[in-house]
C-alpha cells in the first residue's frame, strides 16, 4: 500500500497540494480527475516517490520513504512504475527502451555481459520484455527506433517499459490524452491486465468516461486537495460535495 498522510506540496508560489491524505492498494485502479493545473501530475510524482512533498509523510508498504536511507529508498522506488504525461522514450530501439528497467536492476557484471553480447549481436530479448510488449500489442516492432513511433505507439511503449520490470504500483499520467480510440482501447485493456496481475494503478485523466470504465475508485482533485474520493459509482452517481457535483456535470469551469 502507498499511503500519503497530510501531504502538502508547494513549488514556491502557493501550495499545489495541501493536507492531502490517501492510499492506493495493490490490485485496484484509482482514477484521479480534476481540472488542468490542479496538481494531478504533482500528486502522481509524489506517489511514485519521485517528488518529496514539502510536508507530510509518504509510506510504501509500511516504510516511511523519506526517512530511510538513499539505497533503501531506491529499492522502494523500484517497486513503482510511472508513465509520464509527455513523451520520454530514450533515443534507442523499442526493445532497449522496454528492457531499461530490467537492466538497471542487474549487477554491473551482468550489464557488461549483456552489453558485450549485444555488440556481438546475439542478445536475445528477455521474456519479460516480450510479454510487456504483448500487453500493449507491440510485440512485432522490437527493433524499431523509438523516435519513429507514432504518438499512440510511443505511449504504449512507455507503458510496456513501466510494466516490464513487474512493479507493484503503476502511475499513469494522462496515458490516453491525444490518442485515437484504438490506442485508447489498447491502453485501457493493458490497465486491466495490470490490475489482474495485482498491480495498484493510479491514472490521472481528463476523461470522466474513461474513469468510469476502468476505475475501482475515483479521486476528484479540486483546489488544493480531494473534494471527494471513493468508489467510482458512488462518486459519479452521488457526490456528497457540491463542487464535485458541479465539476462532474461540467458546470464548474476553472
Amino acid at each position: 500500500m502507498i499511503r500519503l498522510s497530510n501531504v502538502s506540496h508547494t513549488y514556491g508560489d502557493g501550495p499545489v497540494l495541501e493536507d492531502l491524505s490517501m492510499s492506493v492498494d495493490p490490485g485496484e485502479v484509482l482514477a484521479i480527475i480534476g481540472p488542468s493545473g490542479v496538481g494531478k501530475t504533482t500528486l502522481l510524482r509524489v506517489l511514485a516517490l519521485f517528488v518529496r512533498p514539502s510536508s507530510g509523510t509518504t509510506e510504501l508498504d509500511g516504510r516511511a520513504v523519506w526517512s530511510v536511507g538513499e539505497s533503501e529508498r531506491l529499492a522502494l522506488r523500484r517497486r513503482i512504475g510511472m508513465v509520464f504525461q509527455e513523451a520520454s522514450l530514450f533515443d534507442a530501439s523499442v526493445v532497449r527502451n522496454v528492457e531499461y528497467g530490467l537492466r538497471v536492476r542487474e549487477s554491473w557484471r551482468e550489464r557488461l555481459r549483456s552489453q558485450f553480447r549485444s555488440v556481438l549481436g546475439s542478445n536475445g530479448t528477455s521474456e519479460a520484455v516480450e510479454e510487456a510488449l504483448e500487453v500493449v500489442d507491440l510485440d512485432d516492432s522490437l527493433e524499431q527506433d523509438a523516435d519513429s513511433l507514432s504518438g499512440g505507439e510511443a505511449q504504449r511503449v512507455s507503458f510496456a517499459r513501466a510494466l516490464a520490470y513487474d512493479p507493484k504500483y503503476l502511475m499513469l499520467d494522462e496515458p490516453t490524452s491525444d490518442l485515437d480510440p484504438r490506442n485508447t482501447g489498447l491502453i485501457e485493456d493493458a490497465i486491466g491486465t495490470a490490475r489482474e496481475r495485482g498491480i495498484g494503478v493510479v491514472v490521472a485523466t481528463h476523461d470522466m468516461h474513461q474513469a468510469e470504465r476502468i476505475a475501482d475508485r475515483v479521486g476528484v482533485l479540486l483546489g488544493d486537495g480531494f473534494s471527494e474520493i471513493g468508489p467510482t459509482e458512488r462518486v459519479f452517481e452521488d457526490p456528497t460535495d457540491d463542487r464535485t457535483r458541479k465539476f462532474i456535470s461540467g458546470e464548474l469551469v476553472y
Binding site: R77, D91, S93, V104, R161
Partner: protein
C-alpha cells in the same frame, strides 16, 4: 617561387623527400599526443558537463565563464604557461617534462578541455528533462541517469570530442614551445608533430614538402571525423 599545388604536390608525394620512417614517426607523435590529450580531456569534460548540467551550485556561472574564456584562449599563451610550469624553474621542474611528449599532452589537454566541456554541456543541457526523469523513475541510480544522458547526448559529445581533437592536432604554437620540435638524428620524431614539421619546412622555404605534410594532416582530421561520426551513428544504445 611559383606554387601550383596540383602539379607540385604529386611528384613531391611520389619521390618522398623525407627519410624513411620520418613521416610515420611524426604522424605517430601527432596522434599519440592528441589522442591521449583529448582522451584525458574527455574524461574530465564529460563528467564536468554532466554535473554542470544537473546540479546547481554556487559559482556555476563563474565556471561557465572560465570555460568560455578557455575556448578562445590563444594556444601560444597556453604553451607559455605550461612552459613556465614544466621549466626547470617552474613548479613541475623536478619532473623534467620540458621538451617531452608529456609536456605537449599537458598543453593540449589545457587547450582541448574548454571546447569539449562547453559543447558537451550544450549537448547535455539539450537532453529533455523527461528523459532524465524516465531513467530515474524506471529505477535508475544517479549513475544510470548520467549514463542515459551521455547516451542521449552522444552526437553532441562526439562533436565535442571532434572539436577538441581538431584543436589539438592542428595546433602549432604550444607544442612548438613546450615540445621543442625534436627529432633524433636518425630522423625519427621525438616531439615533432605534423604541425611543427610543416612550420619547420615553411621556415626553410620548402613549401612543397610542407604541403605534403599539410595534406597528411588534413587527411588524418577527415579520417578521424569520419570514424567518430560513424561510431556516433552505430554506437550508443544500439541504433
Amino acid at each position: 617561387m611559383a606554387l601550383d599545388p596540383a602539379v607540385d604536390l604529386l611528384p613531391a608525394l611520389l619521390d618522398s623527400p623525407f627519410r624513411e620512417g620520418y613521416v610515420s614517426s611524426i604522424v605517430y607523435v601527432s596522434l599519440y599526443v592528441s589522442v591521449i590529450a583529448v582522451s584525458l580531456s574527455t574524461l574530465v569534460s564529460v563528467p564536468v558537463a554532466i554535473v554542470m548540467g544537473f546540479v546547481d551550485f554556487r559559482g556555476k556561472q563563474f565556471v561557465k565563464s572560465v570555460i568560455n574564456t578557455g575556448m578562445g584562449f590563444p594556444s601560444v599563451v597556453v604553451g607559455l604557461l605550461v612552459l613556465f610550469a614544466v621549466s626547470n624553474q617552474g613548479p613541475l621542474g623536478s619532473l623534467e617534462l620540458i621538451f617531452t611528449k608529456e609536456a605537449m599532452i599537458m598543453s593540449q589537454f589545457v587547450l582541448a578541455t574548454p571546447p569539449i566541456t562547453a559543447i558537451s554541456l550544450a549537448a547535455v543541457t539539450g537532453v529533455e528533462g523527461n528523459v532524465r526523469d524516465a531513467a530515474r523513475v524506471l529505477g535508475g541510480t544517479r549513475l544510470d541517469v548520467a549514463l542515459v544522458v551521455i547516451k542521449e547526448a552522444r552526437y553532441g559529445i562526439a562533436t565535442a570530442v571532434l572539436a577538441g581533437f581538431g584543436r589539438a592536432i592542428s595546433e602549432v604554437g604550444s607544442v612548438l614551445i613546450v615540445g621543442g620540435n625534436i627529432t633524433s638524428s636518425d630522423g625519427i620524431s621525438k616531439t615533432r608533430t605534423l604541425t611543427t614539421a610543416v612550420q619547420l619546412e615553411a621556415r626553410q622555404g620548402r613549401y612543397e614538402t610542407a604541403m605534403v605534410l599539410g595534406a597528411v594532416l588534413v587527411a588524418i582530421v577527415l579520417l578521424v571525423n569520419a570514424v567518430v561520426v560513424r561510431l556516433g551513428d552505430t554506437g550508443g544504445m544500439g541504433r
